[in-house]
Amino acid sequence: MALPIEINKYVQYGQVSSFLASLDFRKQNLLAGGAYNSDLPMRLSLVTRIVEWKYEQNANDDTLVNTGNYLYQLCGRYLQQAKLIIANNMPGIIINPATGAQSTLRPIYLQFRIGVTSSPVSVNGVNVTLPVDGENSIVLPLTYILASLEVTLDGVEVPQSDPLQTSYNAIYTNNSATITLANGSTFHNNDLWIISGYQFVAI
């Protein structure tokens, strides 16, 4: 039986995130005078290879759901960039379709725990008010958000508009994106949410 997640895609994300993390951590280490240390690039690299091995050995192995979700979680902040790299295979000229202006894509990354993380949180210089326990929506008041926000709950990807589980709907405007939980779901204390994506920024 097919698995509920696409392991082959997760493996691709892991492969790209491995070198993105490696580059990123090297830069941060340089800035910290060699004092910055993390095993994330190594962890990404080896988990990606081992999960890929199991996928090639048996693509329907049930245990891949857990290990695949772990790999996805490890990709974290590199996920959006990895998806763009995989989709485009190379950087190119980016035009904001709303303005026609040549732009660059700036990462959006918001991580918070309901009832724990102090509100508001600054994202790319803009304050985002966090939802409280029982609310069902959050507004990102950022301009020209690329309509491809990714949402995870406790490390697991949350689907859009799925009637059978916690899911969300996103409404994008030129000045904001509103994420509303579907199916009567609400935010709960201690839930760890990560919202990531990109916004167009004119250059």
Partner: protein, 169 residues
Amino acid sequence: MAFTPGFSVAQGLDPTSFTITDTSSGDPNITGRTISLFQSDGSLLGGSAIDWPLSDGNTKTLLGVLTPWDFSLNIMVTWASSSPISGSTYTANEIVTFDGQSNEFAYSLVQQISSNQAMTSITNYLYNLALINSDILNAQRATSYGDQGAAQECLNRIYYFYINRNMFF
């Protein structure tokens, strides 16, 4: 037509077993075949060559031979022919490194982490997993350069981690 000896090796879900496929062609006078599994020290795995009668067809699955752990094997297939004289033989060989059990072990460790991420706070857990991962890759690299001994050493190191896993993980 000249005889062209050849075979291929594949492993399925069972990491202790593998299948050999006879891809040879060209001689209608073949009378029999044997498979020899040479370990890195030159000895035969199982103690003797394995008979592979023509009546078995072109594939033969060797069940449960890779115990207790993975092996790097120099696999030699010998074909006996009645031409040009009775008792003539042809041979083909290939070094094949089986890493299924090593990968299963590494995967089981990743499963443990994915179920309980605090596992990696155990001293050197991640470092030791990285060593295992490195040795799996190095075993295949050694194989591609024909160094069966180095490949087997890599597998032996992983086996050491496996039998002492309570100490390392």
